[in-house]
Homo-oligomer: 903 residues x 2
């Protein structure tokens, strides 16, 4: 027979922190605290396992459970020296949910259970506070009728007609008739009358009496907690977070203690260290004569915990340290005890009831990236944790926050934002307001930081966006132009700040009552999406020695290499600064996109429009110096490190202009008719271009294109060698599906290599390899590895082909697929380990079976996604490659994968 | 030390027919015949193995080879009673290539080797025929200078300047100056003079004397034979046929015998049975005083072999049986001997030299499909071969020829075609000439067979094409509209008959000198692409009891099931008649294409243009009766057999009309604006529709579409059950990539099944399964098989995704890929066993691991391809499914796969 009830408290605790799956997070930590002999109000946890039984038995409590609960309740009563339902010395209980993973606010709680006609007078006598008791009773009726009698019974009232709303209306009416301003004005007598009205209303609306029997109340409350596991909010939250439905929740039944029993009572929340900065100071807030929710609600300004963490806003209030030094000391000792026990920063809740301290909760505290980093390194130096643990303490996603200058969190705490929007680009920025791209460029030229504010941005704003320190738009979402550009550059950006009204003509903006004009100073927190008036101090986290020390630690633990995807020498330099160990993907075609590409693009188009091999060769000759120059600069930027250069990949029709104007311009430039351009465009048109004439297929049809590119690579490398540099080009063939494609291409590579050696006297050292992005290539990887010295998984295309999902068209059904749990995540963001992962595994095993020193990497966009990095580590890849700003994130994810694997 | 030379002939033979790889096909069969004590002129074979040595040694003959050849030559001389190079009694030799697989005409031969100044007079004396000897000498010089002195030396003369052409010019000049009409007019003296001129010309053009030493001649000729293995023609032929370059050729050196030594000499070719009809009669042609090439060349009409096979064309000529009864008897005995030895019809060459019969060649004879069938069954009944061998004797591709009425081959032999084109649709057809679709329909209505002749066809001709017995176009290739439509219907069709000039206005056509007008009779042989004037008799091969008996045999040997892909009740009936054991693919969407689909299509479009779920449901309700009716008729046609019904597959935008006119019409019909249609079309537009919103993805987004289809299936089946029929629907989900897709869809299927049972009282029996056409589905087949009761491989899409080849766009590079040997075949025609095959294997193994009675089939176009059927057998599939006309072909291929596997 399974044990379903676990006691905790001073007189005996059955569970501990390791029993999270059985007792839920809250129950396990209450047990652990009790074991540490901290002052936890006694109680017991009904296990998650019973919750499953409860659902299987259609919401019935078994006799054996009832016996276990009765025994546990007896122990609780003994410990607390009170009895549940006792008219003279009544014990009140709370019932709270608690799953193995925190689901904040998604499930139900009922407090003050056990308060009824029979126990009210005893409690009044005991507390000496009639008002407190009727207030507690009012709260119980409200909470119970809502949670137990309505929600748990699947009653779905119309909007605004729920029992809670109806009860609140009664209270509002009373306050209005008595002209009270606040709930605090209600007297004991008022509350007593209110409770009577409440009970009548409950009967009227729900057709049942509010239960006046403590037993009924308790079992109703326990059942409601369990049922809330399958409540609508919880189910949809689980769907989003991917929490399995069969995990279930535990139910914690605990003695009530009251922070609102008078001026000798209080309640508070605290962190063992500062969760915003990581500073090793006890940090928290508390309120006299209050309940936990009052601290959070923000109606009263909470008091500071101690002297050293007082802020501008609460300097005038007494700290707990001042008010009750002994209680503070007791709490501070508990803090030390908890940190040395859990070896991590804890988030705690406490209550002081009539001068006695109780601990209600403790859990690992949430923290900012800065705090996570700082705490990890501090705790390492304090000897609290070891190096692997320190590395595990910072989430890769948090690192993003640390790679950009950020608003000083201390300073930020002091002021209110004037507006908020979507956090589209991380970090902080501060500067003069400008309203046009030209003004931004002008400001930058004068050496002034500026914030570019726009209704929304378009490609014409790009120069100004580049020049500005930060971007703010009134419209647009996380995928708007501004957001995409900003993230690509790692620039601070807030989009969709709807409260902003821009007067472009008058070069000013208003936000509520604030009016700002060009030249005024603004500060953005792009990580949180907050806009501040004036200048707030910044911290440049990349120069943070703490970060540098941390990344050193990360690299020590890491075995997987990290390269970058970079198409320009500039990107290469940025990535190198971020610790990239080479380029995993240099796309030759990217030189034809974007700024300054006009000349090269024109020549590429000329090549595409060539009618004969001779014409094409001539056009390629013209194109050659552009390609070579670009490659040479990139090899130079990565001097000494490998650079994987992918041969031309996209189908040629991508480069044929579509608009009549662009066609006309091209026709004039090339001296041909627009009709010829239209015709070539039609010839090249494809129904499914992603599976069309691209990649190595182009090289098979037009070997002269491959030849030109390969010559550019070898000549660029040879020149660098002659200049004393150490280039390491790796030639990568894209879209390969058969070994013969590699052999055909290799013939050209070998021939050109010999010719360049002949011409320059340099035998360029290089590797020859292939993208693995076609399922067939994975299946025949052993054959491919006979020619290829390296593989690089192109997981974008591999995902497309494995699923049969066109990345461009997935929008039509992706959301349905996520909603129906067909997909756990967008497979273009995180590698689908089940399907695509199998193909990768097959390719790795077969590839290495044919060539045991085969170098294997990944250059799809998932290369910077922590979960995907973890997969790549386990798939025994040699490196991942990602965009420059994700390089540190990938380094950390790689280190964490190695540490987790060792455990 | 390897033995490189193998003798054959009456006095000792080293090889036999089993040594094909070493001796080549010709050498092995010469040895075999010699072993059978047939009168083979003595000689020897230098092995293919030596050919490899020869190339490795850069074209040198080793001393050991020279010794082996000398010994073999001595044996040959002894056997023939002549000596090579002997002035009085000279032996002449032939040198011929012979690879393990026949490569007709691709390599070189040199005849009359050993004729030189020293031996000419001896041969004249011996043969008593000076003209014969100088004619032989002339031929030797021509052949030798061309093959040995020019081609084998890699000399590449300009067009028309080759030595052969130059020598022929000399002869032409002589004939002109002497006013001779034919080579036969040249006298011995003329030929002697010609030989002198020839030798001078050779010296002049090639800079070397024509060798006058028999030894030089012999080694030169042997070397040239070997070198021709790497000649341009041979190499490109090997590429096309996929023959490995390292197989090499053998060289056969054999005593010359002459059919042109006078009126007691002759030469002939024969088949042990009639290769056109299969009739068990000795069939062949011969000529007195002639060489082998004369029989084939067609300058003289050859004589018939015997009395019973005389034809209209040669009835007036003496048969060998009449002329030389004893020799004929000897040959007929050899025929019996060979057939009982080889147990197959043989193609033989013989020569009679001065009254003595020699056998020069024997090999399995090529035959028509009709002949192959007839011989197989005859030989089975004769006890010559067993059942498996009989089944193996007909190639699946030959069966195609047997499934359509064909032109009587005997009759066809009597007449010349007036035109030829590409054989686009098999079988024969005969009827009145018509030039328009309307005329074809009219003729059919009157019960007259007609042949529709068009420049090329377009969709508007479809009615007429359906009505006509056969189609003939002047333009277009094997993938033209006419060819595609005709093959789909199994209709006789010839396309691209360029010689035809059509006068549509005058309703007539001319072909060369023939003028034909509407109403004239024409006969088409669509299997061979030949057009005849007038009516030729037809044979309806499907009614052939021999075919029925053969197919019975086929089904006895077969284990793999054969179903058909059929979208209409009509197709289903045809396929059933061809032996289909069910439908493997019924495409619900096909009811919206083609004739009579307007009403259904309009309702489908209405559904697509719906803006809300409610509108869509209403439109689906209107569509329902069409879908149900179509399904019911098909289930009824396949009564008692399984019918796999695929849920809607194509992306919806395929059904939104593109042309302004069609949009306008639709807008009017639906009472909406054309703008709304354009907008919806744009919404639905996809960049890569093949990987877009299609298949099960549609059902996930619009579950009401799935529901309508499933309801149609169950209601149709229930009604049939109530009518006493036995429907076996199998519901197939397309484009599945994840098990959850199947589960989501199954919920609908289960619900509707229960609802239909409620409504009709029938619990329809059915299977639920999925297409496997996405690589990920193969990899996760075990998970899929938990929901799916059957798999059907959609190898079209699977090939697309596995290769990343868009079928619509592969034209841009397919030819390059075939040329470069990257692909052995078009993977959309024949399953790529290496890559796609691996995916199929994975899916079969994983699928059966989760459900061991999982039914597995294939419904891609490759299902009717014999090589693919063989693969499916080995992959342990349960059935293949193919278009109706390919069902018998698939049945045969399946039987052959089973037989081959048993061996």
């Amino acid at each position: 027979m399974a044990k379903y009830v676990y006691c905790f408290g001073p007189h005996g605790t059955d569970g501990d922190a390791s029993m999270r799956n059985l007792l839920g997070g809250k129950g396990a930590n209450l047990a652990e605290m009790a074991k540490l002999e901290l002052p936890v109000p006694a109680g017991f946890t009904i296990t998650t396992q019973f919750c499953s039984v409860y659902f299987r038995e259609d919401g019935k409590f078994t006799d054996s459970l009832k016996q276990e609960v009765a025994a546990a309740l007896r122990q609780t009563e003994e410990t607390m020296g009170m009895n549940y339902g006792d008219p003279d010395n009544p014990l009140l209980l709370s019932t709270r949910s608690g799953a193995r993973q925190s689901m904040p606010g998604m499930m139900e709680t009922v407090l003050n259970v056990g308060l009824c006609t029979r126990t009210i007078s005893g409690l009044i006598k005991k507390s000496g506070n009639e008002r407190f008791v009727y207030d507690a009773y009012r709260r119980l009726i409200t909470m119970y009728s809502d949670v137990v009698m309505e929600k748990a019974e699947d009653i779905e009232p119309e909007e605004g007609q729920g029992i809670r709303a109806q009860l609140e209306k009664i209270m509002d009416r009373m306050k209005k008739s008595k002209k009270y301003k606040s709930d605090m004005d209600l007297t004991a007598k008022d509350l007593k009358r209110l409770c009577e009205s409440y009970k009548k209303k409950v009967k009227e609306v729900l057709g049942r009496e509010f239960p006046d029997d403590p037993e009924d109340q308790l079992w109703g409350a326990i059942g409601a907690v369990f049922k809330s596991w399958n409540g609508r909010r919880a189910v949809s939250y689980r769907k989003i977070e991917g929490i399995p439905g069969d995990w279930s929740t535990a139910c914690n039944v605990q003695s009530m203690v009251f922070g609102n029993m008078g001026s000798d009572s209080a309640t508070g929340v605290a962190f063992t260290r500062n969760p915003a900065t990581g500073e090793n100071k006890f940090y928290g807030e508390w309120l006299i004569d209050a309940q936990g929710e009052d601290v959070v609600a923000g109606i009263r300004t909470p008091n500071p915990l101690n002297e050293e963490t007082k802020s501008e806003q609460n300097r005038h209030l007494d700290s707990l340290q001042q008010q009750w030094p002994e209680l503070y000391q007791q709490l501070d000792d508990i803090r030390t005890n908890l940190e040395s026990h859990y070896k991590d920063m804890q988030d705690i809740e406490f209550t002081i009831q009539q001068g006695k301290l109780y601990m209600l909760q403790c859990r690992a505290g949430k923290r900012t990236g800065t705090a996570a980093l700082s705490m990890a390194m501090d705790m390492l130096h304090e000897g609290l944790i070891d190096e692997p643990t320190a590395v595990m303490r910072v989430e890769p996603a948090q690192l993003d926050e640390l790679l950009h200058p950020i608003v000083d969190p201390d300073a930020e705490q002091m002021v209110d934002p004037i507006a908020s929007g979507l956090p589209a680009g991380p970090g902080g920025a501060c500067g003069q307001l400008v309203f046009t791209s030209a003004d931004a460029v002008a400001a930058a030229k004068q050496g002034n930081n500026c914030i570019l504010v726009r209704e929304e941005t378009n490609p014409e704003d790009v120069e100004g966006m580049r020049a500005a320190a930060g971007l703010l738009t009134a419209r647009g979402g996380m995928t708007s132009h501004a957001a995409l550009v900003a993230r690509g550059w790692g620039k601070c950006c807030i989009v969709g700040a709807a409260a902003i009204k821009i007067d472009l003509h008058g070069k000013s903006m208003t936000v509520g009552t604030h009016k700002l004009k060009a030249g005024d100073t603004l500060t953005l927190n792009g990580t949180r999406g907050l806009v501040y008036e004036g200048e707030l101090p910044m911290i440049d986290a990349t120069e943070n020695p703490c970060l540098q020390e941390f990344m050193q630690l990360v690299d020590d633990k890491r075995t997987l290499g990290v390269r970058t995807n970079a198409d320009t020498p500039e990107d290469a330099k940025v990535a190198r600064a971020f610790g990239a160990e080479g380029i995993g993907l240099f796309r030759t075609e990217h030189m034809f996109y974007g700024k300054g590409s006009d000349d090269a693009l024109l020549r590429l188009r000329k090549m595409i429009l060539s009618k004969t091999v001779e014409e094409r060769r001539a056009a390629l000759d013209e194109l050659f110096p552009f390609v070579k120059g670009d490659i040479k600069a990139t090899l130079e930027a990565m001097d000494g490190l490998p650079v994987t250069i992918r041969l031309l990949d996209p189908p040629l029709h991508e480069f044929v202009p579509q608009s009549p104007a662009a066609r006309k311009e091209l026709a004039a430039a090339l001296g041909i008719s627009t009709a010829a351009i239209v015709k070539r465009g039609e010839q090249l048109h494809e129904t499914n271009p992603m599976m069309g004439h691209r990649g190595v297929r182009l090289g098979v049809t037009y070997p002269e294109i491959t030849e030109m590119q390969v010559r550019a690579i070898f000549e660029a490398a040879a020149e660098l060698v002659n200049e004393g540099k150490a280039p390491h080009p790796e030639i990568m063939v894209p879209v390969t599906c058969d070994a013969t494609e590699l052999n055909v291409t290799k013939e050209i590579v070998d021939r050109v290599h010999a010719e360049v050696q002949e011409k320059t006297g340099v035998a360029v050292e290089y590797l020859y390899g292939t993208m693995i992005e076609i399922p067939r290539a994975c299946l025949l990887a052993d054959e491919l590895a006979r020619s290829a010295e390296f593989f690089s998984f192109g997981t974008n295309d591999l995902t497309q082909m494995a699923f049969g999902f066109s990345r461009d068209d997935i929008g039509g059904f992706l959301q349905n697929y996520l909603d129906e749990n067909i997909l756990e995540a967008d497979p273009f963001q995180t590698i689908d380990t089940e399907g695509v992962g199998q193909l990768i595994q097959i390719a790795v095993i077969k590839g290495r079976s044919a060539r045991n020193d085969l170098k294997i990497g990944i250059c799809g966009e998932q290369g910077g996604d922590p979960a995907s990095v973890d997969f790549c580590f386990h798939a025994r890849l040699d490196y991942v490659s990602c965009s420059p700003y994700r390089v540190p994130i990938a380094r950390l994810a790689a280190a964490q994968a190695a540490i987790k694997a060792k455990k």
